[in-house]
């Protein structure tokens, strides 16, 4: 079974601070996706990383895929209250069409 473990589970920071959240597995994934979910809504895709070592930037968000394609990180610079939400990583399950999701990191950015 391919599992994705996310850390930390909860994170509360002040506006303007930087943060990094992690997504780790003992299994290799062909790609990893990051989604953000706001209360009462479904998850929305932020980025897909495909190549080991790949770095993608989306405004203040920087995503990195590990060289061995077993882990990924999301770094947010100068966090804003609008960044508040549940951040989920997901990867395709080998041999099926499922996406395996981690349990997520719940981020609160305090004004």
């Amino acid at each position: 079974t391919q599992l994705l473990e996310q850390s930390p589970q909860f994170l509360s920071i002040q506006e303007g601070e930087n943060l990094t959240v992690y997504c780790n597995s003992s299994s290799v994934f062909s790609s990893l996706q990051w989604y953000r979910q706001e209360p009462g809504e479904g998850p929305v895709l932020l980025v897909t990383v495909v190549t080991g070592g790949e770095v993608k930037k989306l405004k203040r968000l920087t995503f990195q895929f590990g060289d061995a394609r077993k882990d990924s990180s999301l770094h947010i610079t100068a966090a804003q209250p609008g960044d508040t939400g549940l951040y989920l990583c997901a990867g395709p399950t080998a041999g099926s069409y499922q996406l395996t999701f981690g349990k997520g990191t719940k981020l609160s950015v305090i004004p």
Binding site: G40, E41, G42, V44, S96, Y97, Q98, L99
Partner: protein
């Protein structure tokens, strides 16, 4: 609308009753997924439909759960004889990439509460 539509948004039922949850995917999307999200948990895969192929039911937790997709479009998830542990948000998603795992577009979910 242009997005994935789910109904009802909220459902409160008594233990032992049957419930039906509906999902209307984005037009033209051939892949449709159902996931369950319990409090404090990630998304748990339930079932996957792709075109006219047999669905992947490997995530359904018990035989009380079933789903169908009519005409390759609308899907219904049915839970028979509901139990309190079935309380969760049921999320539907659709995708256009079929056999390749691409972006999933999620609905807002149906929150089920079993009393």
């Amino acid at each position: 609308g242009a997005g994935v539509s789910q109904s009802p948004s909220n459902k409160v039922t008594e233990k032992g009753k049957d419930v039906e949850l509906r999902c209307d995917p984005i037009s033209g999307h051939t892949a449709l997924y159902w996931y369950r999200q319990s409090l404090g948990q990630g998304l748990e895969f339930l079932i996957y439909f792709q075109g006219n192929s047999a669905p992947d039911k490997s995530g359904l937790p018990s035989d009380r759960f079933s789903a169908e997709r009519t005409g390759g479009s609308v899907s219904t998830l049915t839970i028979q004889r509901t139990q309190q542990e079935d309380s969760a948000v049921y999320l539907c998603a659709s995708s256009s990439l079929g056999l390749n795992t691409g972006e999933l577009f999620f609905g807002e979910g149906s929150r089920l509460t079993v009393l």
